[in-house]
């Protein structure tokens, strides 16, 4: 850990809230540019030795503990954000698939046309400009199958995905572009196919800000990481500029850190909640919310597991959790009866998570059959574009509070008919993929964990339509930035982290420029 200390009244620092993909990356990028940063992280500091190969133990160790007040109709009322609390954020837990958004997804409104009930928008960033940042993010994270980095070898689960996919005529199947070292790189070893990527990579082969961005930022002597420190409120001065962050330190004492600028990267639900909890007389509806868009257009992904009992052993848990990718259904092809596309991603869990994910609440002979045939399972997760809906949103709970006395987030989501149509198509294809190889039985299971949380502080060109401009800078408050997936105008079909990292890198240059120009 670094030993840099900044005073609470030092108003020259940039305060970053959250040390995950967005915040950890931004901290390093700003420090490399000579900017002094305080990184507030609600969770504790972990080391590699904390990562046990035990699914339940790690859930207890690093999953965000507070459940929001979920008022969605069933079955969505059982959902809750599934994110981490700890230095490194959800990059401790993530499975490493690092994919770009595609041109049609970055222009969802133009590509798909108007869709009733969907608040579609085009990304206000040119696709070719974003491509440059994607390349830099891939370089930073060491993404396989990009640059000169080889793909990972295929495990057994991949072999099933590949052969089944070929039976259906798919042509774009690979072990996928992963932020996991396929050979030693960047001071970290190559993957040894341990499995348990979701429990924290014990050898650091998988990219996480915990052991890449954050120590590098500390090495500049310009970062002070404050773990176990929860931001409670962002405070502002009379000129409608933010002036600091009120937080609870590890002893629960409230502290006010002054700041030249504040960047919020607490993962979408907590980021929107923090803006709403920072309401003041000058900003009665929450900070930076003159558009009324804070918390709205909360998207995740259409997300479902399809796992199948194959005629011969697979041992799908051996090796990387994310083990392969089918990209043939990714495009926008309205003949399928829905807008946007989806990916099929080989995935596996240990026996405990497999049982609870595939057969939640189920007991008796069906559970016994699953356990007895566990070695024969192959599996994938469907990941599809989730259309933004204005009333799918994060608000403040009117009844429940956290241990600091602040309202917990309320979440409310409904499924759009497009999501349902996409899911039916994907489910049919995924099941057929395994049946083509003689699957004896398949399991289709929704997920109650919202792993991808996006859109709640959406980006827009006009201050009327969104919360932040194309640089993640709040329309209403020039020195307040959003640096996580809550900026996304739409979800696309890809897992979001590469885009979050690319945007953070791009934003760092912009913030540095604004500071040099004394605009903030």
């Amino acid at each position: 850990m670094g030993d840099m200390r900044f005073g609470l009244d030092d108003d020259g620092v940039v305060v970053i809230i959250g040390s995950g993909a967005g915040g950890g990356t931004l901290a390093n990028e700003l420090c490399q540019r000579g900017i002094r940063c305080v990184l507030l992280e609600a969770g504790r500091q972990f080391t590699l030795a904390d990562f046990e190969h035990d699914e339940f133990a790690m859930t207890r160790k690093f999953i965000w503990p507070d459940a929001p007040d979920n008022t969605s109709p069933p079955p969505l009322d059982r959902e809750r954000p599934h994110v981490c609390k700890g230095v490194g954020g959800t990059t401790l837990h993530w499975s490493g698939l690092a994919l770009r958004l595609e041109a049609h997804e970055l222009a969802a409104r133009r590509s798909y046309g108007a869709i009733s009930g969907a608040a579609l928008a085009d990304w206000p960033i040119p696709a070719d400009e974003l491509a440059l940042w994607y390349a830099r993010a891939e370089e930073k994270m060491g993404v396989t199958g990009t640059g000169d980095r080889p793909l990972l070898p295929g495990n057994n689960n991949f072999k099933v995905l590949y052969n089944g996919g070929r039976q259906l005529g798919y042509r774009h199947i690979s072990t996928g572009r992963l932020a996991i070292n396929s050979r030693p790189r960047d001071g970290r070893p190559a993957c040894i196919q341990m499995g348990f990527c979701l429990q924290g990579c014990r050898i650091g082969a998988k990219w996480s800000t915990l052991y890449t961005e954050i120590p590098r930022a500390e090495a500049t002597g310009r970062l002070e990481l404050r773990a176990d420190c929860t931001a409670l409120q962002i405070v502002h001065d009379n000129r409608h500029r933010v002036s600091g962050v009120l937080y609870a330190d590890s002893e629960g004492r409230q502290q006010l850190q002054h700041a030249r600028a504040v960047c919020v990267a607490a993962n979408s639900v907590e980021s929107a909640r923090l803006l709403l909890n920072s309401a003041s007389a000058a900003f009665p509806d929450g900070l930076a919310n003159s558009s009324g868009q804070v918390g709205r257009n909360y998207t995740s992904h259409v997300h479902e597991f399809v796992m199948a009992e194959m005629p011969a052993p697979v041992h799908y848990y051996r090796g990387t959790v994310q083990a392969g990718l089918v990209e043939d259904e990714r495009g926008h092809d309205p003949r399928r009866g829905f807008a946007g596309g989806y990916l099929l991603q080989a995935i596996s869990f240990g026996l405990p998570f497999t049982a609870l994910a595939l057969l939640p609440g189920v007991w008796g002979p069906r559970l016994a059959t699953l356990v007895e045939n566990y070695t024969h399972l192959a599996g994938l997760v469907i990941l599809g574009e989730d259309l933004p809906q204005s009333d799918n949103r994060v608000t403040l709970s009117s009844t429940r509070k956290d241990r600091f006395g602040l309202p917990l987030p309320g979440i409310h989501r409904r499924t759009h008919p497009n999501d349902t149509a996409l899911m039916h198509h994907a489910r049919e294809r995924a099941t057929a993929l395994y049946e083509s190889l003689g699957a004896r039985r398949s399991y289709v299971a929704g997920s109650t964990g919202l792993t991808h949380n996006l859109g709640t502080n959406r980006m827009s060109r006009s201050p009327r339509d969104g919360v932040v401009n194309p640089w993640g800078q709040c329309h209403d408050i020039a020195n307040l930035f959003i640096s996580d997936g809550s900026q996304f105008p739409t979800s696309g079909a890809a897992n979001p982290t590469l885009t979050i990292v690319a945007l953070a890198m791009r934003q760092a240059g912009y913030i540095a420029g604004q500071m040099t120009a004394r605009a903030i």
Partner: protein
Amino acid sequence: MSAETRRDFLAIAAALSLTPAVFLQACARLAQPGDVEADDAALLAACQRLLPLVDAPAEPFLEAVRQLDALAARDPQAAQAIAAGIAALRRGRPGAAPAGDFLALLIATAIPVLVNHPEIWRVAGYEGESYSRGGYLLRGFNDLAWLPEPPADSMGAVPSGTATGAD
């Protein structure tokens, strides 16, 4: 029922390493209705019904009963649900299934214990923790041989000096 007595009883059953079926037969012969043995037998039978494996080891089910016991000791509401559940089982037809709050409690408490137990993993063929053994790179991560090997442009090579694929 005393948690103390129950623990002793379970410890004996565990030490004898009885399979639940044998254990239950013994209990049915010996137990008087309402005593600790009978309650434990009923609870054990209920846990076994949650996961009726053909070749069931004893210990995971005994552990599930211990966990339920511990829960009952610290949570009066759970204790009540368990007592009521056992009573209902006894009143019902032989072989009646657990239901209601009792079933919900079994699902929430006992199933996680069972599916996380190394002896259940052994039955399932799940190898679990791999860090101490160098991952699965040298232990069959790509040993599937009943399907054709995917082509080289779909995946990377296995690092040299380590496991080769099925071909």
